[in-house]
């Protein structure tokens, strides 16, 4: 195979790209996923007061402001060596459960479900949320929109602002919630539990009951024997907001359990010349390249990883669903990449149940939501589970709390090695002997990547209103032989230049 080096300039086209390289026989030799990276964030933060970070980091991207806000707030607690009062922690977790629900609902119903409900190779004109609603009923669309709105309302009330929360302070929260607000949240949480159950029922009826789909989930195309990482509580149950980080090997044995502040002892980052994104790996296992198995330090985060590292779910309905998933898929850990979707639905139910528990906690309306810090700030790490996986914020400040150094490791980067491998494996299984790859087959390659719910952290709102993904196929000489830009406008956007 001809060696191909990719010019850095061609890497920055403002959209994600899957490049598939064929060999002389026309089979897939290699495949790469490229995600554009935003630059200059660390520089942007240096010299600013650390307590501003929870409000700045929400601007990294429009997809996960809640996760960055809370990770940053926790890093502030650590920088100021302050422990928030119990009510503040509960309020943060309540907010955070709503955030996870909000994110997971969009991903499943708008992005994942159409591949299954309409079919992975169905007409792309139908394979979207409109086609989904058309098939399963308008009322499902109504429920989706309603429960996303509930999750957003809760975040807005606690966060103090729609979209970009401002509630987190070192040592606690800016304000408590009132009894009226609590009651309102409780109703919304109850409804969300029902909606969580509904999602799993829908998955049963439309995906699991279909033999073809079940085979697709459990088959070789979308499988990877990797390590897994995620946060667990004191009982080793899944927790999004607080706990230790646990790592299991491809056989499911615990190989590490560590405090967030010690992350540098466990996670290292490899770089590749063809990608701006780094490739995190388990330091103690080592980087062996983009390969799976026990000898390779590649690990995965996000929904399925959290379930794989945990001993169970902390709420009853989610626990039952957790058990059912592992029974159906043949025990722990599950290596089926498409099962990230199933795990995401179980997490929606868990988040809703936990939300309800917190709404019914007698302490949740307590006015004691802040411990004012008194120690001199220096350095701190804040870690939580973003909807798409473990998220690390690490700050160093001077003794006035002014940022000197920032290190963020975001979930999409943690999954970068695995996403590349999943895309390559799917491409190798689906594209053979240089046959013209159909849109449907390429969509199935994309499904390998979509399961990770990657956040491209970019200008997702730059028109035409989405981050496009392009698939490029090159022959053994490096020439482009096929290009599928189903996510780019199929015809030029009609615009009128009106000035200057």
């Amino acid at each position: 195979m001809k060696k191909i080096t990719i010019d850095p300039i061609t890497r920055l086209e403002g959209h994600g790209k899957i490049e598939i390289f064929l060999n002389d026989e026309g089979d897939v030799e290699n495949a790469y996923l490229q995600i554009p990276e935003l630059r200059g964030f660390e520089k942007f933060c240096e010299g600013r007061p650390v307590e501003e970070m929870p409000r700045i980091t929400t601007r990294i991207c429009g997809v996960c402001p809640g996760a960055h806000h809370m990770a940053s707030t926790k890093a502030n607690d650590a920088v100021y060596h302050v422990d928030p009062p119990p009510a503040a922690k509960k309020l943060r977790e309540l907010f955070y459960c709503a955030h996870v629900m909000h994110s997971h609902i969009a991903h499943f119903y708008a992005l994942a479900a159409p591949d299954f409900v309409l079919g992975p190779t169905s007409d792309p004109a139908e394979r979207n949320i409109l086609g989904l609603v058309n098939k399963v009923g308008l009322e499902v669309g109504g429920e989706v929109i309603k429960h996303r709105a509930y999750a957003q309302d809760i975040q807005t009330v606690i966060g103090g602002k729609a979209t970009h929360p401002v509630c987190g302070l070192p040592g606690g929260m800016s304000k408590p919630i009132t009894e009226d607000e609590r009651k309102d949240f409780e109703e919304k949480a109850k409804s969300s539990v029902e909606f969580g159950k509904f999602g799993l029922k829908l998955f049963d009826d439309l995906v699991l009951a279909n033999k073809e789909y079940l085979e697709l989930i459990t088959g070789d195309i979308y499988s990877m024997n990797s390590y897994y990482m995620g946060m667990v509580d004191a009982n080793n149950k899944v927790n999004f907001y607080e706990g230790d980080i646990r790592v299991v090997d491809p056989e499911g044995n615990e190989v590490a359990k560590f405090k967030p502040a010690d992350y540098l002892d466990y996670i290292a980052e490899h770089t590749e010349p063809w990608s701006y994104l780094k490739f995190p790996f388990l330091k103690k296992v080592g980087w062996k390249g983009l390969v799976d198995g026990k000898d390779s330090g590649v690990f995965r985060v996000n929904s399925l990883a959290r379930l794989n590292v945990a001993d169970g779910m902390a709420t009853p309905l989610a626990q039952a669903e957790y058990e059912r998933m592992y029974e159906t898929l043949g025990g722990k850990p599950v290596h089926a990449t498409l099962a990230f979707h199933w795990a995401r639905l179980i997490e929606i139910l868990y988040a809703a149940e936990r939300l309800l528990e917190l709404c019914q906690d007698s302490e949740i309306t307590s006015p004691e939501v802040r411990t004012v810090p008194t120690a001199t700030p220096d350095e701190g790490v804040g870690v939580l589970e973003a909807p798409r996986g473990t998220l690390i914020h690490h700050y160093q400040t001077d003794d006035k709390g002014i940022i000197q150094k920032v290190n963020l490791i975001v979930a999409t980067v943690m999954n970068n090695p695995a996403m590349n491998m999943s895309v390559k494996r799917a491409a190798q299984s689906l594209i053979k002997k240089g046959q013209a790859a159909s849109e449907g087959l390429l969509n199935m390659v994309e499904m390998a990547f979509r399961a990770y719910d990657p956040c491209m952290a970019c200008a997702t709102h730059t028109l035409p209103g989405q981050m496009p993904l392009e698939v490029v196929i090159r022959d053994s000489q490096g020439n482009v032989i096929d290009r599928l830009s189903q996510h780019l406008p199929s015809q030029p956007l009609e615009v009128r230049v009106i000035g200057p």
């Binding site: 601007r59 991903h107 708008a110 992005l111 792309p124 709102h461 730059t462 989405q466 199929s490």
Partner: protein, 161 residues
């Protein structure tokens, strides 16, 4: 007629902040009777909640086109996005899909949506300022929107503000 002016974008991502910046200028130029002015970095699905309840919306956003000149201002009709409807981004649907879903679900979405887009140069570097050509386009874009608003709604004002 209830009118919403919505500046879209990330205010700390260099030129991506052009929408919010135009919105901020408009806030100073218009009185509350004329329009409600907001800025957001929400994408399609969540934007529907903001649009609901208004008769008319004017959206300002950044755009990057092949061969476009930074600072150019365009008008785009929402129908133009039909070309991109049947697609999916990593974490959201696009504007046309969201709009159609909202309409199907009976959300009270604006019957008229006008989009002003400014061609941008840099949306991948963090910074609070737009690049020079884009900065120059801001007052012009503001003026165009004020004209547009006042020429199409001379009498009927923003009733409930």
């Amino acid at each position: 007629m209830k009118t919403l002016i919505l500046g879209l974008g990330n205010p700390i991502l260099t030129d991506d902040g052009v929408g919010p910046r135009v919105a901020k200028e408009l806030q100073g130029r218009l009185d509350q009777q004329e329009a409600t002015v907001m800025e957001t970095s929400l994408a399609a699905l969540d934007m529907m909640y903001l649009l609901a309840g208004y008769d008319r919306a004017i959206i300002i956003d950044a755009i990057q086109t092949v061969g476009g000149k930074a600072g150019q201002i365009y008008r785009i009709e929402p129908e133009a996005f039909d070309a991109t409807r049947h697609t999916a981004s990593p974490h959201d649907v696009n504007f046309a899909t969201a709009l159609e879903l909202g309409n199907q679900l009976g959300m009270a979405l604006p019957s008229r949506i006008d989009i002003f887009a400014v061609e941008v140069a840099d949306t991948s570097r963090f910074g609070e300022e737009c690049t020079p050509k884009v900065t120059e386009a801001i007052p012009l874009c503001v003026e165009m929107i004020v004209q547009e608003l006042r020429s199409t709604t001379p009498e009927t004002q923003n009733q409930s503000g």
